[in-house]
Symmetry: C2
Subunit: 238 residues, 2 copies
């Protein structure tokens, strides 16, 4: 909650980004690019748009998703501060990107990035590392979508939110969920109603406390972690 000062609206400014240590995870301390600010629910780009920019989240949360003809939606990833997306080389984006909250993103021209990569082994390693992280988390998500029950999916999701390096409104015991229940459902391959029901179940079991719909407090982390891989932990009743 300390990175949301000077909020111009939809402004674009060329800056050398000063990003926090958490970003060092990408190995790139400072990038140069155009930073733009957007209101919530703004579409940065849609599936099929020409993919000539790579994005880095500076503030807020972004949601990457794909659609099926009949309107079914699969959320591929929630991108938070420091996350990079649109990185894989491609002609056109293979997914759409919406802001969930007010958000700022830095855009880097793909060809500029390619030049930097060719010139600088450190940048190269950083990019590879970032792609690797993405692959790893996608593999975990394949397992979740293919083989976990609804209760395990929600528990896994919550647990990963608590695990995530602390950022705005996360003191390790409480997480801010910037997304709606429908967003969570579309991420987990279930419905909004099922998400609610499992959250209710976790609440009744005393595993979490739902301060308000977008703010959840962790009471029994170990139980949540177990529940992420074995729904029987939350055996019926209560």
């Amino acid at each position: 909650m300390q990175e949301m000062r000077h909020l111009h609206h939809e402004t674009i400014e060329h800056t050398r980004a000063e990003i926090r240590p958490s970003t060092a995870r990408t190995g790139i301390e400072s990038w140069i690019g155009a930073v733009s600010n957007h209101a919530a629910k703004y579409t940065l780009f849609m599936e099929g748009d020409p993919a000539d920019h790579v994005y880095k989240v500076v503030r807020g949360t972004i949601c990457l998703y794909t659609l099926l003809a009949n309107g079914r939606r699969q959320v591929l990833r929630f991108c938070r501060v420091g996350d990079i997306f649109g990185l894989a080389p491609m002609e056109t984006y293979r997914y759409s990107a919406d802001t969930l909250t007010n958000a700022s993103v830095m855009r880097i021209r793909r060809n500029q990035l390619d030049t930097k990569m060719d010139a600088n082994p450190v940048v190269r390693a950083a990019i590879l590392g970032s792609i690797h992280d993405e692959l790893a988390s996608m593999q975990k998500h394949l397992l979740l979508l293919g083989r976990k029950t609804a209760a395990e999916r929600v528990a896994s999701f919550l647990f990963s939110m608590f695990e995530h390096p602390t950022y705005e409104g996360n003191d390790g015991q409480t997480v801010e969920l910037p997304m709606t229940r429908t967003d969570i459902a579309d991420y987990l391959g279930i419905t909004q109603e099922t998400v609610c029901r499992v959250l209710g179940q976790l609440k009744r079991k005393g595993v979490i406390r739902i301060t308000d719909p977008h703010r959840i407090e962790l009471l029994q982390g170990d139980v949540l972690e177990d529940a992420a891989e074995d729904e029987s932990i939350l055996a019926h009743a209560a």
Copy 2:
């Protein structure tokens, strides 16, 4: 059943691989590495093993998968001739790899590959391209696992098999399925029985013909393609 001649058992030979044009897709015409031959159902490595090699399939089909405590399995990918796996930089493999058929793989030491990558921009681009392909297909798979019905999943799978660049036993109208029904089920996030039932349905509709359990002939490609995104194409009855 025609690819199982001259089976040396577990031989290893250093060779300059002569691989077919389909491999040019990786941009690397010839790699140098140790080629090893394995019988079907051989485990190349398991999740958690130190990841010091990158593999390239020279012959046969490999199956990459992860397990959940209670035995549930998610197949992440079927690797066929020319495919590369174990590429993302990691300390230990995050999945296991089994041969499905008799197979040969070329192993390259990770640090050797890293050296090549740093020295050669062409290799670099090829590797990045390969990772990109993997990301793209994983994103498609997330959509399948999260949002498609059983019928759509099987149709998608078959369609992708028919689309795949022709290789052993695929003349564009007939595909050889080296994997078992259980393997397919674990790839699609459903059960063996459901796979059988959908295949039966497709057969009764006249969309495919099942010459033998591992050999399927395509009769109506357009119908199969439509069914991959809209199960109602296969509306009940018959």
